[in-house]
C-alpha cells in the first residue's frame, strides 16, 4: 500500500533545526569546497580530497547516523539527507557514498554488537574509509553471478568496479559460501589484497579493482542473507545518493540560469528567448518532482517504513533524470564555452554519470520499482 492512501500530510518538509544544520553545511562547503577543489582532484592523481574529508569528519557528517555510543553524532537520516544534498551541490570530491551511505549503513544494518563496536567508531571519525565491493563484471549486479568465495573466514575473488578502491581501508564484500550469498567485511591493508585504480569518467571520484586472495574477513548478518541485505542497503543508499544528485542538479541549474541572464546575443540576454525560458521551466519541473520524490524517500528511510523500496526507487529514478537533464542542458545552454575544459560544466556532466551509475542504472531501478509495485 502506498502511504498516499493513508491521508493528509501537513508536515512534508524538514524542520527548522534540520535546515539550520543544512545551512551550516552549505557555509562550510562554500568556504572549503569551491568547484576548484573538485577540479584539482580531477586534474591530479589524488582520488579524493583528504583535507575536505578531515573537515567533514570534524563536522560530524561521517558518523551522522551512527549512535553516539559508537562515536557518531546520533542524528537521523533526515539530517544525513540534507548533508548529502549539500555535498552534491558542492560536487565535493570525497568518498561519502562509499563510506557513509554504503559501508557504514551496511554495518549499522547487519553488524552484531561486537562488530558495530569495533567497526563503526573509525568509520564515524573518518580514520577509516569504507567501500562497497559487490560488482565483478559489466552490466547489472545479479547475486547469482557472484564468483567471490568466503570460506573458513577468508575471502577470495576479484571485485570490479569498486568505487574508492584506492582510498578505502575497509570493504563490505558480497561473497558466496555454502549457505549462499553473504556479506563479509575485510580490512584492505592486508598483503593478500591487491588493488588498482581504473581510469574513470569522473576523475574527481575514483573507481578501481580489488583482488582478494584468502584475505581474512568476517561475515555481517546471517549466512545466506546477502541478497536480501544487498537490496536493503541499495535502497537506503539510493535515497541518500538521490539527495546528492538533487544537489548537483540544482547547482548546475542555478549556474545555467545565471549564465543565461548575463550572456547577450542579438542584443538581449539569452535568458529572454522563449526557447530557452521554456527549457529552463522544464528543468525546474524535473528538479521539483525529483525533490518531492526524494523527500518521500527520506521520510521512508527515517521511519524505516514498509514503503522504503518503492520510495527509494522513485527517488532514485527522478533524481537521476533531473541531474542528467540539468547537466546536459547546462552544456547546451552555455554553448561553445560549455564544451571547454576550462568551464565547470563538465564537472557536473561527469558527476551526473558517476552518481547515476553507481548503484545501478535507470533501467534496473525502473524494473525494481515495478517489482515493488507488484508486491504492494
Amino acid at each position: 500500500m502506498l502511504r498516499s492512501d493513508l491521508g493528509e500530510p501537513m508536515n512534508f518538509d524538514f524542520s527548522e533545526d534540520q535546515k539550520l544544520l543544512q545551512k551550516t553545511a552549505r557555509d562550510f562547503l562554500e568556504s572549503n569546497a569551491p568547484l576548484a577543489l573538485c577540479r584539482s582532484v580531477l586534474e591530479s592523481n589524488e582520488t579524493y580530497s583528504s583535507s575536505l574529508w578531515k573537515g567533514a569528519a570534524e563536522m560530524g557528517w561521517l558518523g551522522a547516523v551512527v549512535p553516539e555510543e559508537y562515536g557518531g553524532a546520533g542524528f537521523g537520516h533526515l539530517e544525513l539527507s540534507l548533508l548529502a544534498y549539500e555535498v552534491g551541490r558542492a560536487l565535493a570530491p570525497i568518498p561519502m557514498s562509499s563510506s557513509v551511505y554504503l559501508a557504514t549503513e551496511a554495518i549499522l544494518l547487519a553488524g552484531d554488537a561486537s562488530q558495530r563496536e569495533r567497526l563503526l567508531p573509525p568509520l564515524a571519525d573518518g580514520s577509516t574509509i569504507g567501500t562497497y565491493a559487490v560488482a565483478e563484471r559489466r552490466g547489472p549486479v545479479t547475486p547469482g553471478a557472484i564468483e567471490t568465495r568466503f570460506e573458513n573466514g577468508r575471502v577470495s575473488g576479484a571485485k570490479v568496479p569498486v568505487a574508492d578502491a584506492q582510498a578505502a581501508q575497509l570493504a563490505v564484500i558480497a561473497a558466496n559460501e555454502a549457505q549462499g550469498l553473504s556479506l563479509v567485511v575485510a580490512h584492505l591493508d592486508h598483503p593478500s589484497v591487491t588493488r588498482i585504480s581504473l581510469p574513470c569518467i569522473d576523475g574527481s571520484r575514483d573507481q578501481g579493482r580489488i583482488e582478494f586472495s584468502g584475505t581474512p574477513a568476517e561475515r555481517i548478518g546471517a549466512p545466506g542473507a546477502g541478497a536480501e541485505l544487498l537490496a536493503q542497503i541499495q535502497h537506503r543508499a539510493a535515497v541518500l545518493v538521490a539527495f546528492e544528485q538533487l544537489g548537483g542538479a540544482e547547482r548546475a541549474f542555478e549556474l545555467t540560469r545565471e549564465f543565461c541572464m548575463q550572456r547577450y546575443a542579438f542584443g538581449r540576454p539569452i535568458a529572454s528567448f522563449q526557447a530557452l525560458k521554456h527549457r529552463m521551466a522544464d528543468m525546474y519541473c524535473a528538479l521539483e518532482l525529483a525533490r518531492s520524490n526524494a523527500y518521500y524517500g527520506a521520510w521512508a528511510l527515517h521511519h524505516d517504513a514498509p514503503e522504503l523500496a518503492e520510495a527509494a526507487c522513485v527517488a532514485r529514478i527522478s533524481a537521476t533524470e533531473a541531474m542528467h537533464l540539468a547537466t546536459t542542458e547546462m552544456i547546451q545552454l552555455y554553448g561553445g564555452v560549455g564544451y571547454t575544459w576550462e568551464y565547470d560544466c563538465h564537472l557536473f556532466y561527469r558527476r551526473s554519470q558517476w552518481l547515476g551509475l553507481l548503484l545501478g542504472s535507470l533501467p534496473q531501478w525502473r524494473e525494481r520499482l515495478v517489482q515493488a509495485l507488484e508486491a504492494s
Binding site: M10, C260, L289, P363, V370
Partner: protein, 410 residues
C-alpha cells in the same frame, strides 16, 4: 517530517467530519462517479447542488474561507483543504459554484461597491444564484487583455456587443462577471472595464460548445446590444484589468486538488489483464520500464502537492510554483491514456462493450486531456509563468503593450 495533522488541524477535521456524518453518508467505492469540470451539468444536478449548498450555509460550512462579515468563517487555506478532503469523502453533489465563490466573490469583495457586496455575496454563498466568468474571447485566450467585446456608455447604462467563449455553466448561471473594452484608444490594459451582468438580460445568446470528447461543458455567449446599468460596474471605468488580475489570482487558488480519474492503479490493472504474447502486458520489459516512468512522475506530482499543503499548513502562500501541477500532470495523463490504448492494440479503439476497459474511461481520458492542457493557462503560458515569476527570467518582448489598442494588428 510526518503525515499527521497538527492538533488544531485534527480538531478542525473532527468537527468537519462530525457535521458531515450528521448530514450525509460516506461515499462508497461502487457509487457512480459524479460529472467533473467540463462535463455537462443536468438540471437535476444543479438542483441537488443548490440544496446541498443551502444546508451547508445554514450551518456555517459554506465558503468557509470568506470573512465572517460576508457569511464565511474566516477559515485558513489549510482548513479549506481539510474541509474539501472531508467533504470529498462523503456523498455530496459536485460543486458548481467554484467559479463564483472561489474567484468572482473575492473580486467583488476587493473591488465591488457596498451595494454590490450587499446584493450579491450572500446569495452567491448560499448557492441561490450561480455565477459564470465571461473573460475569454475567440481572439483573446492566452492574450486575455486583447479582448474586443465593446461596452459603450449610454446615459446610465452601458451597451455591450461582442462574443465570449469557454464559459463554463453559462446556461445555468444567473449572473456573469464580464470584461469589456471601453477605450480602444488607450493601451490594451488601460481600456478595459469590469461588469456584473444579469444572464437573463435581453440580447444574450448562449450556445453550447461540443468538445472533442463529446461533452458540452462550455458555451459561447453572444452579446447583441445588451444593456447593463452603470451600477453594475465593478471598479472604475477603464480600470477593469485590476479586477481581472484579482479574479485570475484566485483562479489559481480555486483550482488544485481534483486528482480523480484513472491513475497508476488502474493502469497496472489494465496491464495485468491484457493478454500480451504468451503472458500479460505486465510481463513485457518495455512496458514495465514505461510504467515505472509514469509512476515516478505521478508520485513526484503527488508529493509536490504535499509540499504545497505543508506550506499552507505553516501559513505560507503557495506561489506560482504551483503551476507545475497542471503543466506536468495534464501531459502525463495524456501520455498514460495513449499508452493504455497502445497496450490494448486494435481493441484500444473500442469505447464501449465488453472489450472496453473501465467502460471506455481510458479513451475518454485520451479525448479529455488535450482540453486540460489548454484550460486555465496553456502549457506554453504556464512555462512562461514559471520562467518569469519563479525563475525571474526576463519578460517577453511586448510589441503591443504601449500602443493604442485600436492600432494593434489582429
Amino acid at each position: 517530517m510526518d503525515f499527521d495533522d497538527t492538533r488544531e488541524e485534527a480538531e478542525f477535521r473532527a468537527e468537519a467530519r462530525a457535521w458531515l456524518e450528521a448530514h450525509t453518508t460516506l461515499r462508497q467505492p461502487d457509487d457512480a462517479p459524479e460529472p467533473g469540470m467540463g462535463d455537462e451539468a443536468s438540471q437535476d444536478l444543479v438542483a441537488r447542488a443548490k440544496d446541498w449548498q443551502g444546508i451547508k450555509a445554514d450551518s456555517g460550512w459554506a465558503c468557509i474561507t470568506w470573512p465572517e462579515e460576508f457569511g464565511g468563517r474566516g477559515a485558513s487555506a489549510i482548513q479549506n483543504v481539510i474541509w474539501n478532503q472531508e467533504e470529498g469523502r462523503y456523498r455530496t453533489p459536485p460543486n458548481i459554484f467554484t467559479i463564483g465563490q472561489g474567484m468572482l466573490g473575492p473580486t467583488i469583495m476587493a473591488h465591488g461597491s457596498p451595494t454590490q457586496k450587499e446584493r450579491y455575496l450572500k446569495k452567491m454563498l448560499r448557492g441561490e444564484e450561480v455565477w459564470c466568468q465571461l473573460f475569454s474571447e475567440p481572439s483573446a485566450g492566452s492574450d486575455l487583455a486583447g479582448l474586443r467585446t465593446r461596452a459603450v456608455r449610454d446615459g446610465d447604462d452601458w451597451i455591450v456587443n461582442g462574443q465570449k467563449i469557454w464559459t463554463t455553466g453559462a446556461h445555468y448561471s444567473d449572473y456573469g462577471m464580464l470584461l469589456t473594452r471601453t477605450d480602444p484608444g488607450a493601451p490594451k490594459h488601460a481600456g478595459i472595464t469590469y461588469f456584473i451582468v444579469d444572464m437573463s438580460s435581453p440580447g444574450i445568446d448562449i450556445r453550447p460548445i461540443r468538445q472533442i470528447n463529446g461533452a458540452t461543458g462550455f458555451n459561447e455567449v453572444f452579446f447583441s446590444d445588451v444593456r447593463i446599468p452603470d451600477g453594475n460596474r465593478v471598479g472604475a471605468e477603464n480600470d477593469g484589468w485590476r479586477g481581472a488580475i484579482t479574479t485570475l489570482m484566485n483562479e489559481r487558488a480555486a483550482i488544485g486538488g481534483g486528482g480523480a480519474g484513472l491513475g497508476i492503479k488502474e493502469l497496472i490493472q489494465l496491464l495485468r489483464t491484457t493478454p500480451y504474447g504468451d503472458g500479460v502486458a505486465l510481463d513485457d520489459d518495455g512496458i514495465r520500464q514505461k510504467l515505472a516512468d509514469f509512476h515516478a512522475r505521478s508520485t513526484g506530482l503527488q508529493y509536490t502537492g504535499y509540499r504545497t499543503l505543508t506550506a499552507l499548513s505553516r501559513g505560507q502562500t503557495p506561489g506560482p510554483e504551483s503551476s507545475i501541477g497542471k503543466l506536468v500532470g495534464a501531459p502525463l495523463r495524456q501520455e498514460m491514456a495513449a499508452f493504455a490504448l497502445e497496450v490494448l492494440g486494435a481493441a484500444g479503439t473500442i469505447t464501449g462493450g465488453d472489450l472496453a476497459m473501465e467502460h471506455g474511461a481510458w479513451q475518454r481520458m485520451y479525448l479529455t486531456m488535450p482540453g486540460l492542457r489548454l484550460a486555465g493557462g496553456t502549457d506554453e503560458i504556464l512555462r512562461n509563468i514559471i520562467a518569469e515569476r519563479v525563475l525571474g527570467l526576463p519578460a517577453e518582448v511586448r510589441v503591443d503593450k504601449d500602443k493604442p489598442f485600436s492600432e494593434i494588428p489582429h
